[in-house]
């Protein structure tokens, strides 16, 4: 019988020529992160990466909320693949972890049920006249950053270190369920010992906190968040994690999933409003970063270009700890050159 040893789970990560699929929800939650990723891979690492304007949803949220049937999902994903094939790419890089999980699910389904693949080919052909090839690799962007963490380190201006004390910052890493648990074998170190974010943090000078609820879900859920009456489940899970990490005094949380970043960030505010509780000593809340934001900050990108002003928990105390300079006046400076006025909000 086969013995499963998560630590031995490794995967091949292609080293160039990526076809990037932006995420519907990330573009509204953390719009700076995807641009930052493109900058890191294209400008800093000098790799070929395609940011195709014609891409569309993978149906992820609709699928997981039971409103999109699987046949539709397969056909829509097939269309994404056909756009990739058209541009001559073989490495599909979905920004969203739910997309990552769902693409893997569809491709795995086709391996076991060739008739589903044939049906999808037929559907796509009938509906759009298109054909497609299955990608050689479906790689999550965080895998790519993990792969090049050493190269990136050489170009970094900052480390995950407290500039005053010289001590490593204490980091909570959290990876998305749809990244790590749908196909645990597609994750470096699997779901229980995921190396991807921990590897970045440790390489770049930080210290990963191993707190008891480290592997617990962030609480996003799908129906659990989408339906207001169920939000109590979602927030209870996040709170469980905060309570468990609190005694370790984390300096920040880093995640690779749109939902995790969103909810670990926003629920802290909600809990503060509902119960008056914050999970850091200063009462600010624990800043939550995406891995692209973390990487961008260390590379010396302007924090406001990364989109940090869109976080509920302000990141300034963290920037001060690391010693990253920023201009307070520019925080809400819009692309138009005008300061965005929040009075109407």
């Amino acid at each position: 019988m086969e013995r499963k040893f998560w630590k031995n789970y490794q995967k091949d990560i292609p080293d160039n020529n990526y076809y990037y699929e932006r995420s519907c929800i990330r573009q509204s939650f953390f719009p700076g992160s995807e641009t930052t990723f493109l900058r890191i891979v294209g400008d800093v690492l000098g790799k070929q990466i395609e940011d195709d304007q014609n891409l569309h949803t993978c149906t992820g949220i609709g699928y997981h909320a039971d409103v999109v049937p699987f046949e539709t999902t397969q056909t829509i994903i097939a269309r994404l693949f056909s756009l990739m094939s058209e541009k001559g790419y073989r490495n599909f890089v979905p920004s969203c972890v739910t997309s990552f999980g769902l693409l893997n699910e569809v491709v795995e389904t086709w391996k076991h049920f060739p008739e589903e693949l044939q049906q999808t080919r037929d559907f796509l052909k009938q509906a759009t006249g298109r054909e497609f090839e299955i990608p050689e690799y479906i790689t999550h962007p965080c895998d790519i950053i993990y792969k090049f963490r050493k190269e990136l380190k050489e170009k970094m201006r900052f480390q995950i270190v407290n500039q005053k004390t010289g001590e490593p910052l204490r980091v909570v890493e959290h990876i998305g369920c749809h990244y790590s648990k749908v196909f645990p074998q597609a994750v470096i170190g699997s779901a229980e010992f995921p190396q991807v974010l921990a590897g970045m943090v440790e390489e770049w000078g930080g210290q990963v906190i191993d707190y008891p609820e480290r592997r617990h879900c962030c609480g996003f859920g799908f129906r659990h968040y989408l339906i207001m009456a169920n939000r109590g489940y979602s927030i209870a899970n996040s709170r469980k994690k905060f309570e468990s990490m609190e005694p370790y005094h984390p300096d920040f949380i880093v995640t690779n999933c749109p939902g995790c970043t969103m909810f670990l960030d926003r629920w802290q505010y909600t809990i503060k409003e509902m119960e008056g509780k914050t999970y850091d000593k200063q009462g600010n809340g624990i800043p939550v970063l995406t891995y692209e934001e973390m990487t961008g900050l260390l590379l010396g990108f302007n924090p406001w270009d990364l989109g940090l002003q869109l976080h509920q928990i302000s990141a300034e105390p963290l920037l001060d700890k690391i010693g990253i300079p920023y201009d307070k006046e520019q925080k809400y400076l819009g692309k138009s050159g005008k300061i965005i006025d929040f009075k109407g909000f």
Partner: protein, 344 residues
Amino acid sequence: MEKIIYTDIAVIGAGPTGIVAAYNLARLGYKVSLFEKEESLGGNILKTYKLFPNFQSSNELLQLFGEMIVVNNLSLQTGVTVTNIRKDNNHWISTTNKGETIVSKAVLMATGFKPFDAHYKEEYGYGIYNGVITSLEFEKMLKCGEIYGSNGITPEKIAILNCVGSRDAKVGNNYCSRVCCINAVKFGIEIKEILPKAEVYCFYMDLRMTGQFYEELYRKSQQEYGVNYIRGKISEASQTADNRIQLKAEDTLLRLPIKMTVDLLILMIGIEASESTKELSAQTGIMGEYGFAKSHSLLKADNHTIHPGLFIAGTCKRPFTYPETVADARAAVVEIQHYLENKT
């Protein structure tokens, strides 16, 4: 220079099975060569403190083994590994890592088991957290007469987890290891004798009290020692900020998820085929499931293999308790005698 030894029977492995078989064969007048890869004899018994269910000291047994091997006709070599066995006409040729060749009429494999490597159950953090130890490491603590938890101090709360590496498809072992349930009961009592104030919780999927006096010991551990049993498998162990161990399980009889913080988590590791067992069974084509050696017929010829003259006994076949393995050794002696006297 190559050395050739001629003997009646080569016995591989000087744990309880090998010693008892070799001793009895020698007393019947056969020439026996007994090989042990370790420097001392006793096999896995060396790693234990007292044996269930009657708390007999392992040292006493080891002493007895020492007396048994001085019988006439028996030659013991320790620190020698038999690396190869093959049949040559009516004889068996065994070679060792010391370059010796043993020519014998029969071979008895008594190559035993190895304890499950708890690193494979990653969710328990063995090798990562101080407070998570294996049953064999706990035997060591008992030998020293001192139990300490993750912070190096006397534990107030101890959890014992059964079936680690057994009955678990995740690690590739669907079988039950037979010895760990009763060993856990024994541990509960031993802990309470050393630390009467400590709380002890044993987490189990099923409690298999199969041997004589096991059930009574289980009952005694509850009635007289106050050991707690919770039906539910621990799903995850992690370290808390103050270096203790936090467990998650379901109290299945209560139907609620539970959380508990302990100072020490003892993993009752199971029995697996030893490396020698796997190696020699593979060479001779007698490897059965999970790498254990396979007998010719479970009900009719359980010490025979498909090869006349190659015999197997003890935990190289499957998990056995101490009395079972010794009984199996004695059974093998009879079968070998019949074989050598052409009675089979």
